[in-house]
Structure formats: structure tokens, C-alpha cells
């Protein structure tokens, strides 16, 4: 028997006026995994997440979160989950420690606020006003607020949007830390790199529909299995020799670059073997792996930045 799903969503639909923001979305989030809902802005990520959080009521569909109904059992559920909302703000002049103390007072169980702030690197910002924090610090504070009740399930909506790469990496480490403590994380992002690095499984959503669900590596393997090896060499024989590697397409580019494309798992081994057998001298050897970005493009026909 598999572990019970932390979230089960069946056939969610949500309409705003004439637009169908979420159109029949179904997915499960397993206990203890980081699950990502990925897609461009306006694809229906936040609406879906807010329906699961109980902040919004879907027009149709069934949702179970930790065995509860997010709308009917809203207050019971809130004690067991942590929420970080997209583009949220706090009072401009609230101090970091005041916000954390207020949140801690609202829940029956709470982790030590001081220790939590230390963990999130906000120890020296305890007395700072919210308005004086940088974007990364604000996000970390919101993560702190989402974690204050030691939740079993954490919702993170576009948590690194607008952050610089360094702050982003620090937040990724934090999220992995949440999973390492046995929690389940449900996040949305429009950054494919974020999804690829962070998520155990992702659901690609576009125009309110889920296109596919799998691990990032699984999606790449199934939809974009082709890899490319780029070899730079002055050897004029190289192109012809490399064509002998089974199941590859070889093309010659500028400046002595030969591209060898193929879908086989042993593509690299084959190329290396060939280069060694024929003593071909190479000055550069690169591999290009398809990413989630490529999968997205292939499945939806447009770039995620659309």
C-alpha cells in the first residue's frame, strides 16, 4: 500500500466571468514530496493553489487536503498547514519579531520563533520594520510565518519571484530543508530551473489544464529524449567517422564544431569510443541536455515566458 496522498484534487474548475481560469485540473500530492505546479503567468497556478488552500472555492471538483475538506474544515486545516501567498505584504511598520510572535500566538503548537528566525537568517533583523527588509528577507519572513506552526504541509506560491540568483539559491536550500524534516511541499513556479532543481514531481499547467505530470527527469526522458554532443575538432575526417556511431544524426557547424544528436542512453559512450578509436583530437567536448523548458515548449507549443 502506498502512503496516503497529502492532497487529492479531482476535476477542479474555476471561472472568472467569461474566462475559465482552471479547467478540469486533477492531481495528487504524495506525503513527503516537493510537488510543483509549473506554467506561465496566468496559466491557473495560483487559482488552483488557492482552491487547495481553501482561500478560494472552486466552481466544480473535489479536494481533500490531509483528509479534510479545505472549505468546510478551513479552520481545522489551517492549524496543520503553512501558507505563503504570492505578492503578500505585511503592515509597513510591523517588526519581524512582532509578526512572528503574532503568528505564533494564533496556533496551538508553534516552533520557537527566535530559533526559526535564526534558521532563516533573519536573526539580526528581529527588530527591523517590514518595510525596511529586502525582497529576499521579506520572502524568508513569509516562509518563517508559513512554518511557525510546524505544519505537515506547506504551500509556497511563486516564492522566489523577483529575487536575485543568490537569494533564490538560499531559498531553495530552505525548501529542501523543509522536505528533509518530513514535510510535504506544494509550490508553484514559472521558473523551469527552479522546478527542475527543487521538485520531486511537477505538473505542467497551461490555459487552466494539466498537460502532464511526472518527475522532471521523467518528463524530459519521455518528451525530449534527444541529447546533443558538440565536439570541436580540426580533424576533417571526424564528421564521417562519427556518422558510424549507431542511431545518430551528425551535422557540421561553424568553426569545426560537429554536432552529434541521438536518443540512445549510450550516446556519449558511443561518441567517446569513436573519438578514441580513431584518435581524433578534440579541443572542446560539450553535451547539451534538454531541460524542462524544452519539454514545456514541446508540450504547449509556446515558451513558458510566452
Amino acid at each position: 500500500m502506498s502512503a496516503p496522498a497529502a492532497i487529492q484534487a479531482q476535476g477542479l474548475r474555476k471561472r472568472y466571468g467569461a474566462t475559465l481560469a482552471v479547467d478540469g485540473v486533477s492531481f495528487d500530492v504524495q506525503d513527503g514530496e516537493i510537488f510543483g505546479l509549473i506554467g506561465p503567468n496566468g496559466a491557473g497556478k495560483t487559482t488552483t493553489m488557492e482552491c487547495v488552500e481553501g482561500v478560494r472555492t472552486p466552481d466544480e471538483g473535489r479536494i481533500t487536503v490531509l483528509g479534510l475538506d479545505p472549505v468546510r474544515d478551513a479552520y481545522r486545516l489551517q492549524l496543520r498547514v503553512g501558507v505563503q501567498l504570492q505578492e503578500a505584504q505585511l503592515q509597513k511598520r510591523i517588526k519581524v519579531r512582532e509578526a512572528v510572535a503574532l503568528w505564533a500566538s494564533l496556533y496551538r503548537a508553534s516552533v520557537d520563533p527566535r530559533q526559526l528566525l535564526e534558521q532563516l537568517g533573519l536573526g539580526d533583523k528581529r527588530d527591523a520594520w517590514f518595510m525596511t527588509l529586502s525582497g529576499g528577507q521579506k520572502q524568508r519572513l513569509f516562509i518563517a510565518l508559513a512554518l511557525i506552526n510546524d505544519p505537515e504541509l506547506v504551500f509556497l506560491d511563486e516564492l522566489t519571484t523577483g529575487l536575485d540568483p543568490q537569494a533564490r539559491r538560499a531559498i531553495w536550500d530552505l525548501v529542501r530543508g523543509i522536505r528533509a524534516r518530513g514535510k510535504t511541499v506544494f509550490l508553484t513556479t514559472h521558473l523551469m530551473e527552479e522546478a527542475e532543481r527543487l521538485c520531486d514531481r511537477v505538473a505542467i499547467i497551461d490555459h487552466g489544464r494539466i498537460v502532464d505530470i511526472d518527475s522532471p527527469a521523467g518528463l524530459v526522458r519521455r518528451h525530449c529524449p534527444e541529447r546533443t554532443v558538440l565536439v570541436t575538432t580540426a580533424d576533417l575526417e571526424a564528421e564521417a567517422r562519427l556518422r558510424l556511431v549507431p542511431h545518430v544524426i551528425v551535422t557540421r557547424g561553424d568553426a569545426g564544431v560537429v554536432a552529434i544528436r541521438g536518443e540512445a542512453d549510450d550516446l556519449m559512450t558511443g561518441v567517446i569510443q569513436c573519438l578514441a578509436d580513431h584518435r581524433i583530437r578534440v579541443t572542446d567536448f560539450r553535451t547539451v541536455m534538454p531541460t524542462l523548458e524544452d519539454v514545456f515548449l514541446k508540450l504547449t507549443g509556446h515558451s513558458v515566458r510566452g
Binding site: V55, Q78, V83, E87
Partner: protein
Amino acid sequence: MRGLWNLTWLEIKIFVREPLGFVGTIIMPVLVFVALGRMMGGRIDSSERLRGYVGADLPVLIVMLIALNAVLSLVTIIAIYREGGILKRLRATPLRPHTILTAHVLVKLLFSVLTLMLMAAAGRRFYPVALDVPWLSFTAALLLTTISILSIGFLVASLVPTARFAQPIGSVLFYPMLGVSGLFVPVESLPSALQTASHVMPLTYAVSLLHGIWVGEAWSAHLGDVAVLVLVFAICTALSARVFRWE
């Protein structure tokens, strides 16, 4: 009402940190009041009419202005909190919606009472007019009035689209109401069209009640005012509960 006291206390601290908030809403009105009293101190003694004004009309005017100020700032704060996503963030916690709103009303009431007490102390010290006012009754009347006006403010706060419009819409709504309320000109001396307008404005009944109780009239003479204010409170609260938007 879990978290009500924590949140109220926090909002009090945040309000005091607002550079213009505390000075603008509390210190400034009191200073102006004191300065006026000093400037015309001698004249009040010699003029019967002025004495009547300072003894009854001025206090009610002050009370109404403070109540309106509280309402307008409540409308603005709710609008800012909504626009900034603060309401939405608070709502995704075990805080019940009415707890969040009650906390703001309590903060506004507290600072209104504080301003009024300072005004009363300043009046006693700087205005040479002996006041014989049924304080307990007046406090009760004031509480009823303020809560009733705050509920109108809440309805406005539920409906204003953005924070930028909150203050102007509130002002456009409330100040004309105040103009025909009998506070500046007795209702009977208004043109008949304005008299009709006056009779449908809740503030008219607030002014009538406050003024009556201040000069020592009995509650029984103002049951109509009380009924209207309670009705306004009930209607506005029920309506805003239906139309209030969190984002």
C-alpha cells in the same frame, strides 16, 4: 476571537510608529484647540452667545469631527490593507475575519477616546466655561454614535475599489452629511430641500442625540435618534458582511 488582543495591541504600536498618524490625529487637534482657547479666552467670558457656543455647540462639533476622522482613517487603512494583500495574508491564518476588523475598530475607538480626554482636559484648563454635563450618559451616547458611524465607514471600506479613492470617497460622502446635520446651521433654518436631505442622513440623528444629551435632555426625548442609529448600525453591518472583499 483568538488573537484579538495581540492583534489590537500590535496595531496600536504600528499606529504610533506612523510619523503623521499620531501627531496628526491626536496632538494637532488638541494643540489647535488649546491655542484657540488661549486666543479668545477673554472674549468668552464677556459674550453670552459665545459662551453658549463654547458650552454646547463646540464640544459636539469636536466630537463629531473626531469620530469622522476615525471613520475616514479606518476606511483608508482597510483599503490599504486590502490593496497590499495584508488582509489576504491575515485571512489565511486562524484569525477569523471579524477578529481582524474588530481589532481595527478597537484601535480607532481607543485613539478617539484618548483625543477626547485630552480635549476635555484642555477645555477645562483653557476655556473659562463651567460645564455641567451628564458625562456617563454622554459617553454612552458617544459610543453608540461612533459605532454607528464606524459601521457606515465599514460599508464604504467594503466598497471602495482602491486605497487611493478611499479617503476622497469617504470625505465626499461624510462631509456633506455633516453639513446638513444641524451641526453648523440648525436644521430648521436650512432650505426645505436640504431639510429633507438632512432627515435621511444618519449623522443628523447622531448630532441631535449628542447635542441633546450634552445639554442635559433625557434619553426618552431622543428614542427616535437612538432607533435610527441602531438601525443604521444593523443595516450597514449586515450589508458589509455580504459585500466585503478581502482582495
